[in-house]
Symmetry: C2
Subunit: 440 residues, 2 copies
């Protein structure tokens, strides 16, 4: 029989120490750093989330510190003593240490300084250990917080969580940027987005969301592209117009910032994160945005159909200056640049009822209203020389009824990158995948 | 619920109607069913989660019901009137209906009866619309509840959520059951499990979890195998022994059942789910379990190294009869049948410190303690004729220090299937993937 309840909480967590003044406690963790001083040593323990500073002195223990190695995993027994010199208001005086596992070698990269003094390439090559750096791991606690907050918000707004398949029979986004797979002798693909599936699920639950991997076989080698990334997607039915989706995202982002400030204060402080204040997010039409950037910076517009990355950066600069907002919705993207399921603007069908969200210079979200009428969708496919027969199961939703709907996809790593003012999206991916990297 | 500026909450949700007696409300949804009676009609609206019964009568409205079609998406205005004959204690008298979108055709499968009268094959072929059946969609609300509860529990136990890559350079589980991918001219694979990555992340956060897709290129065509499925994985450091993992799972399952009972009562009632009572989960050694089944049912043991599905079923039958438990942990699986990272039992290295969890006749979880010592791991790889050079980045964790640790993976669809007493795992997958099916 398995005993339930006993062991799970027999050890103390770092966060509880502050309530243990004067007590002898046992805590587990990894020796992050040993700083030898004259006559004593600071032994810093890396625990689940916090670093715990303990004091080694022969006054308090018979344990021989020469036996202790950095990166050993230990069970440490000590007394929690009030100490005003310590940031946390206490110190842990080591009484005993039991080594539970020892490293074979010292790490080839120094991981226990404030910053890792190595190139991003090296940091990624040694990812399993460089992630142990206190700042590195804080990045992904923040990323966790974003997901927790988004899920909580979306659940409150009555979105249902779905799991859509990533092995698919056709791409949702078109184009050649799709990974091919040998699926028992048939050709299959890796999903570029959960687009078709979340639309199908709007017919079931009205509002759905998914946080999951998507795949783009893009040959871009830039600081903002990954070939596998985590997309936060939601899709909602019964919208009056596409601005409702933008409103939902605005509220979601507000909820994200609020939860981060409440529950991730230590990581925010450690990484000096500048949490954006979100009241309203301004919106500007795509064509006006192009003009604005062109006029403000005397730049020639090279491509009226899309943004260059530099234009996105400059637009955000203008918006920040004029409104104070770190975010800007760009709406009404040209029809030719949007997928076949994008709903066109009735007033001018050269533009779609769609938007991107830019955050501190980088596009982090693409969204919009989708076509819900069967004939309209089939006609648009034919106009684009697509064969509706190949999309029969997708078109079931239009044929058998679907409410007016729309949604968005947000790139989790890009969003994390800009929130933390990082410049390379790989810094915000645990194990990034690009053209040259699938290890580790 | 977060009150969003304006539009998002201007309409009422089905769950709020009970607080709207005597009021005129507007609600959106899809016409699920129209039941014409003499002189009036029941109009059943499918909303996000609930079905809402409304009453159409010429007494209350000028709207012509002949204009209304099943599967139309509508905005319905009506008065909520107390009515003791109705299950919910009220009825909604229709004042007006605005049709927001119309289907092109009637569905080829009748979806608005209690059960869909069609084969599983047909149900899956028409998945985008058959999921709209009230019972079908309830299955995946329960599945959502499992995920929500597991995340909540694991967060409380200080597990950090991770996202590991699914495009990988090597398989974690070995064997030929792995999908190959052309990754920019190099060979890559789809992850069979997040095993290596969650172990790496134990070195970072101690406790981690992930709910994500995994891929098995198995040619099994059975009622319990999917080629893409959702795995709930957790991995925890600083364990004294592998029974701590079983204890953690037991507590997680208790938390799951509790949250389902609290928040998914309507789906539990609709699907007549028999929620198992979990006090303690009995455990039995693999070899003893084989003997027990053999003796009880006078069966010959064909394979001492593994269970046949029928043996798992029979074992669960015995355990249910003798202990009342719907779950049974089977421990100490043979070393030859477990992966190279499984820790062997010091007392007898023919067996591993591992376990499976069986639930109502089917294996739903595999877990165990992992090797943390570098030399021990390298030696075991060499003994198995594996080349440690190919696993260099994985072995970093052993080389540079990792605590004693272990974890498990639980198949979400299998678990859902057995919880709901379904017999085919495809019934518990939104869009199942098997050898013959990648559409829709």
């Amino acid at each position: 029989m398995i005993k339930v309840s006993g062991k799970l909480r027999e050890r103390i967590e770092a966060e509880e120490l502050v309530n243990c003044m004067g007590k002898t406690i046992t805590i587990t963790g990894t020796i992050y750093k040993i700083r030898n001083m004259s006559g004593f040593a600071f032994v810093i323990l890396r625990t689940k989330r916090a670093l715990v500073q303990s004091i080694y002195s022969k006054e308090y223990t018979d344990y021989e510190i020469t036996e202790l190695k950095e990166n050993s995993c230990v069970k440490l027994t000590g007394v929690v003593v009030e100490d005003s010199r310590s940031k946390k208001g206490y110190e842990v005086r080591i009484k005993n240490i039991t080594v539970l596992s020892k490293p074979e070698e010292d790490p080839p990269v120094v991981i226990n300084n404030k910053e890792i003094a190595a190139s991003l390439e090296t940091i990624l090559d040694y990812r399993p250990i460089t992630l142990r750096n206190d700042k590195e791991r804080a990045i992904f606690k923040i990323q966790e917080g974003i997901c927790i907050a988004a899920r909580k918000f979306l659940q409150e707004q009555l979105f249902t969580e779905i799991h859509s398949p990533k092995i698919v029979y056709t791409g949702a986004e078109g184009g050649a940027n799709i990974f091919k797979l040998d699926y028992f002798g048939k050709e299959a693909y890796l999903a570029q987005s959960p687009q078709f599936y979340k639309q199908m699920m709007v017919g079931v639950y009205d509002r759905v969301y998914e946080i999951g991997a998507v795949y783009r076989a893009e040959k871009h080698d830039t600081s903002r592209h990954l070939n596998e990334y985590i997309s936060l997607d939601f899709e909602m039915g019964f919208i009056d117009d596409f601005t409702e989706i933008m409103e939902m995202e605005t509220c979601m982002l507000q909820a994200v910032m609020k939860l981060l400030e409440e529950n991730y204060a230590q990581e925010i402080a450690l990484l000096k994160v500048n949490i954006p204040i979100i009241r309203e997010i301004p919106a500007i039409r795509f064509s006006e945005a192009k003009d604005l950037v062109s006029k403000t910076y005397h730049r020639e517009i090279k491509d009226m159909g899309d943004f260059e990355p530099e234009e996105e950066r400059l637009l955000c600069e203008i918006i920040k200056k004029t409104t104070g907002s770190d975010f800007i919705f760009v709406t009404h993207y040209p029809t030719v640049k949007r997928p076949f399921y994008a709903m066109e603007d009735l007033e001018n069908n050269e533009y779609t009822l769609s938007f991107d969200l830019l955050f501190r210079g980088v596009e982090v979200t693409t969204g919009g209203q989708r076509i819900h009428d069967y004939k309209e969708q089939v006609d648009k496919m034919l106009f684009r020389n697509m064969n509706p027969k190949l999309f029969e199961s997708y078109l079931m939703i239009h044929k058998y009824g679907i409410p007016p709907h729309g949604g968005l996809g947000m790139g989790l790593e890009r969003f994390t990158m800009r929130l933390l003012n990082k410049t390379n999206v790989r810094e915000a991916s645990l194990f990034p995948r690009d053209q040259n990297r699938i290890v580790p």
